[in-house]
């Protein structure tokens, strides 16, 4: 989660011994510094060691493993250079999964952005029961993707007639739809997009609410004096520009989260017969490559590295593009 506070350098710890009385010797001061260093590592050491072991080591291991042949084993067997990478990039299923992801992101990011902003704007201005509405929209955040996928798959969007969606269609005299297995038109998208929308909109609404509450009311008064009509004009010229920093953070989080989508795809689309080749995001593909029957950890690692690089490029690129560094300064 990056932010304006992330970009600012740490307000460095004060240099040790700056208030030391004049009669203190250099040796005593060195002793104090040493003692502070020791305490620093007592506090930070366990966390830093764990982070190194469980984040940095796997990362480096993965990069190393991606240059080796490693089937069914975690020990690299044969050096293959960039072989795993070219294999992954020429694998239609993997590149296809990247395309699926791009399409999914193109849907879910604007949809969540608009819905969560709209919810925040409405909840912010409602007078009574504000806490109630905020809770209701935020409540799905306490629900897991597994449970949500179950409700969507087995109760709302069933292919057979007992689903809620088909019951509603039936009331209008329409034919039932096999939601999850219809690819032309891609009805399964409706299922995938709505489940994520339901789960995450409330979380981003909270971020927007926080942003809205920080806007100086004087700005709105000034706009009213200048004759701006409440509604679209104020929204466009005051609210949205003032929410810029929040918007950048929200879009960044949405993109990164969409990149890592796994739970709802896996739980909506896989069944006892396996996983359909359409709608396969990269993580699902990597899961089956590295830990499925083949246990091809070499190419799995190469795929993970490729995915990590794409995420890094998109994240940094988006931050640059929207000037995350600049909004830091004037926020």
């Amino acid at each position: 989660m990056s932010s304006r506070t992330v970009a600012g350098p740490a307000t460095g710890p004060r240099a040790g011994g700056e208030r030391a009385p004049g009669d203190r010797t250099a040796a005593a001061r060195r002793g104090l510094t040493r003692r502070r260093t020791l305490w620093f590592w007592v506090f930070v050491g366990p966390f830093a060691a764990g982070l190194a072991l469980f984040t940095y080591v796997p990362l480096l291991w993965s990069v190393g493993l991606s240059f080796f042949d490693a089937h069914n084993t975690v020990t690299p067997t044969r050096f293959v250079g960039l072989g795993n990478y070219t294999a992954m990039l020429s694998d239609g299923a993997f590149t296809g999964s990247l395309r699926t992801f791009l399409l999914f992101t193109a849907f879910i990011v604007p949809a969540t952005y608009v819905l969560s902003l709209a919810l925040a704007l409405m909840v912010n201005r409602v007078r009574r029961a504000q806490a109630f509405f905020r809770s209701v929209f935020f409540l799905p955040a306490a629900c897991s993707y597994v449970v949500a996928a179950l409700i969507w798959k087995m109760s709302i969007f069933n292919g057979v007639r007992f689903g809620l969606a088909n019951t509603v269609l039936d009331a209008f005299g329409a034919e039932p739809v096999a939601w999850l297995s219809t690819t032309h038109p891609p009805w399964y998208w409706l299922v995938i997009v709505t489940v994520r929308l339901w789960l995450q909109a409330g979380f981003y609404m909270i971020l927007f609410l926080a942003g809205l509450q920080r806007i100086d009311p004087v700005l709105y008064e000034a706009a009213a004096v200048d004759g701006a009509r409440p509604g679209p004009q104020v929204l466009r010229h005051i609210t949205l520009p003032q929410l810029r920093a929040t918007s950048v953070a929200v879009v960044l989080l949405l993109v990164v989260n969409a990149f890592q989508s796994f739970d709802e795809f896996y739980n909506l689309l896989s069944d006892a017969r396996g996983y359909p080749p359409y709608a396969r995001p990269p993580l699902v593909y990597l899961y089956y490559t590295a830990l499925g029957q083949g246990q091809n950890l070499g190419t799995g690692s190469a795929g993970a590295v490729i995915l990590a690089l794409i995420i890094a490029v998109v994240t940094v690129g988006q931050a640059r593009w929207f000037g995350l560094g600049r909004t830091d300064a004037d926020g």
Binding site: M1, S3, R4, A10, G12, R14, T33, R36, T37, W39, F40, V42, F43, F47, A48, G50, L51, F54, T55, P58, L59, S62, V126, V136, F137, L139, P140, A142, Y145, V146, V147, A149, L150, W152, M154, S155, I156, V160, R161, F162, L164, T167, G202, L207, A210, A249, V256, Q260, F262, Y266, N267, D271, A272, L283, L286, Y287, L291, G300, A304, T315
Partner: protein, 277 residues
Amino acid sequence: MDDALVRAGRALRLVLLIALALLFLVPFYLLVRNGLSSEQDITSPDWTLFPSELRWGNIRELFDDTSVPFARSLLNSALIAVATTLGTLVLASLAGYGLARIPYRHANKVFYAVLGTLMVPAAVTFVPSFVLVSSLGWISTLRGLIVPTLFSAFACFVFRQYFLGFPRELEDAAQVDGLGYWRTYWLIVVPNARPVFAAVGTIVFLGAWNSFLWPLVIGQDQSAWTVQVALSSFTTAQVVRLHELFVAAAVSILPLLAVFLCFQRWIVAGVERSGID
């Protein structure tokens, strides 16, 4: 004239909000409705809003069914969520305090090393993490499910930001009284930082309870299944007893709803100050 327009707009907004709120509650309703229905009431082609009878016995049936390790997976999830939350709070708050308050020449470098891992999407490292955990022999153990998740850069970051803004006077007074860093931390800082502990703790607990990919990868034996993995295995099974599946899902969100309702205020506060904006 204008007044009437404003009032109409306000009414319209309220109607829209109520409609959306109902829409957001529908999935929860379906979860409970189906969980307390008979199989027929769920799969009947003549779907009705209310089931023909409420079957509270479904809950007992779920725990009596020995073919499904549901009680075990519930216990695993509880152990994992509690251990992860406590461990994360201790490790990350100590680190956050050290980074914020103990002068050390390379503190910034350490901080950036922590921050850097925030940019590494956790899900992308699941393949190498699996490799590491399996080489430690931790597959299908609670250790393997808990320990690797204890080092949350996000939690450390939130604590550091919080302690940076913490009034120094209290700590200065403690130091004058001769308390070292250790006792200052436990006796002065922690009791005064309860809100941030509650906020981070709740977020970590929800995350641990709901996480799926890591438990799926590590919990290969049924004995190490979490409740999410168990639910997922029901949905992909060939033969599904729908009412049991739904009642299991409903039971699985009860602890979360309890935590959520108790600590909602803290989640909101935590999200707001998590450094996102």
